[in-house]
């Protein structure tokens, strides 16, 4: 217990020491490393926030996202009801509404501003029964799932024709897919530059302390002991980089909110922006810190191997 407290106290002191000797010296180098880390984190996190908000704000939007099923002409209303009920109980379908041939005729007539009778006279109503479906979010998010659903419905022997109004989500899907892809590419490039910057920062500082490291090796310090300060350096850089990224992201997200809402209004929607929640933020901090510590560890280890006391 005593040794554990001692261990923690020593580490806290070392972290402080590292801040004074490694982080606050060579200020431009430190700043550069922090900037690269911040940038690397900001881009994916902004994209994540955008996606999250976009999903939320469009989930209650139903215009143009329905599938219309026209049943065969000889299907009577009892069967039509049955089909509608079957579809409604499917998880992949959010809601199903039956529009009987009479309903169809009524709405057609009213859209023309005349009575049903005037449209058809005594002739039989030629319209089929129809069912209007709104697919669930999972299905509409993926083109494959939607196609599968449509194909299944088409296979039903009572179904004459299926019309999918998918333009809207096709467009959205392709935009988000492209955004996701571009973000992934940018994130990968940034991640690579982060790793290189960090390796460079750490190995520069190892070289700066070459003399000290030689002495440590001569008096019997283990590699782990020598590496420890550089791992703390990585920890500091990861933490500070994440902190900067958090604020950078917040500024970008909220300044874009206003602009995007302007666009969104044209589609009859309103985007309410939500930043990262506590759990997501914590995860970002942990990930950044741990990753930078790991890269620093590996980099310090390999640079230290090259130092041999004379």
């Amino acid at each position: 217990m005593r040794s554990l407290i001692g261990f923690i106290r020593r580490n806290v002191r070392d972290i402080h020491y590292v801040y004074n000797t490694l982080v606050s010296v060579n200020f431009t180098g430190t700043l550069l490393a922090i900037a690269v880390i911040a940038l690397t984190l900001t881009i994916p996190s902004i994209f994540y926030v955008f996606m999250q908000n976009f999903k939320e704000s469009t989930s209650d939007l139903t215009i143009g996202r329905n599938i219309t099923i026209y049943l065969k002409n000889d299907v009577d209303s009892v069967v039509a009801f049955q089909i509608k009920d079957d579809l409604q109980s499917d998880d992949r379908i959010k809601s199903a509404e039956l529009i009987t041939k009479d309903d169809g005729l009524k709405s057609f007539a009213s859209s023309m501003g005349i009575s049903e009778h005037e449209v058809m006279g005594n002739a039989e109503n030629p319209l089929p029964h129809a069912v209007v479906l709104i697919p669930s979010e999972e299905v509409e998010a993926s083109t494959e799932n939607l196609d599968l659903l449509v194909k299944e419905i088409k296979n039903n022997k009572y179904v004459e024709m299926v019309r999918v109004d998918r333009d809207w989500f096709k467009r959205i899907n392709s935009i988000t897919d492209a955004m996701r892809y571009i973000t992934a590419v940018i994130a990968a490039i940034l991640l690579l530059s982060l790793v290189f910057t960090l390796i460079n920062t750490v190995s520069n500082r190892v070289l700066l302390h070459r003399n000290e490291i030689e002495v440590m090796k001569l008096v019997g310090a283990t590699d782990l002991y020598i590496i420890r300060p550089y791992v703390y350096l990585g920890m500091w850089l990861g933490f500070l980089g994440c902190f900067v990224s958090w604020w950078l992201g917040t500024i970008v997200i909220f300044s874009t909110e206003r602009y995007l809402n302007h666009v969104a209004e044209a589609y009859g929607t309103h985007i309410i922006f939500r930043g990262l929640n506590f759990r997501e933020l914590l995860m970002m901090f942990v990930m950044s810190t741990v990753m930078c510590m790991l890269v620093s560890f590996i980099s310090a280890r390999s640079s230290i191997n090259g130092i041999r006391p004379q």
Binding site: G6, F7, R9, R10, R13, N211, E212, E214, V215, M216, K217, L218, V219, G220, A221, T222, D223, Y225, P309, Q310
Partner: protein, 225 residues
Amino acid sequence: MIEFKSVSKIYQQGQIALQNISFKVNPGEFVYLTGHSGAGKTSLLQLIAVIERASIGQILFNEQDITDISLKNIPFLRRRIGMIFQDHHLMMNRTVAENVALPLLIRDYTEEESMDLVRQVLDKVGLRHKEEYYPYCLSTGEQQRVGIARAIVAHPDVILADEPTGNLDKGLSLDILDLFEMLHQDGTTVIMASHDIDLLATKPHRTLVLNRGHLVYDGEFSQFR
């Protein structure tokens, strides 16, 4: 304690520093290592601390073969050795006290625990009043003594001293020799390399004499003269 079995050291550039050296140092012994400049004294000490590796032969430390000791185990070997270097090897950006405390800190002593021990050894080498100084503010002789303090602070099994009195005047040299004598009385093995025959004569011990990499004498100091 330390045993060399037909050890040779040939540097990469082809210089032969040591040739076919065999000797044995028992625990608690005080041994001088002497010879002209370039005779191989430093090289011999470096082989014991595995700063350099033997080219041929075998070296034992406490009956354990250290000739091919793994990199992972070197730190633990070095912790049993207090090495005093010909050029002081101090950390210039740390104070005297911090330099001396280093062997303790790497053994996970706390700062408070180590400070007591550091002050004790600084007293022994007469530098207690300069514990807050940086090494570059000290004279060469004082730097040398800081190195000695660092080597003995953690009570190593063996002290390897490479010209520890190289930059000291006669009086201080004798003080340092007395200090080694005291450690030797306490049971520490001491191997001291020096070309200062007159100094060694004041406190005769077993002496190894190197000449161009060959061990030409191993016996009592008096008989060698």
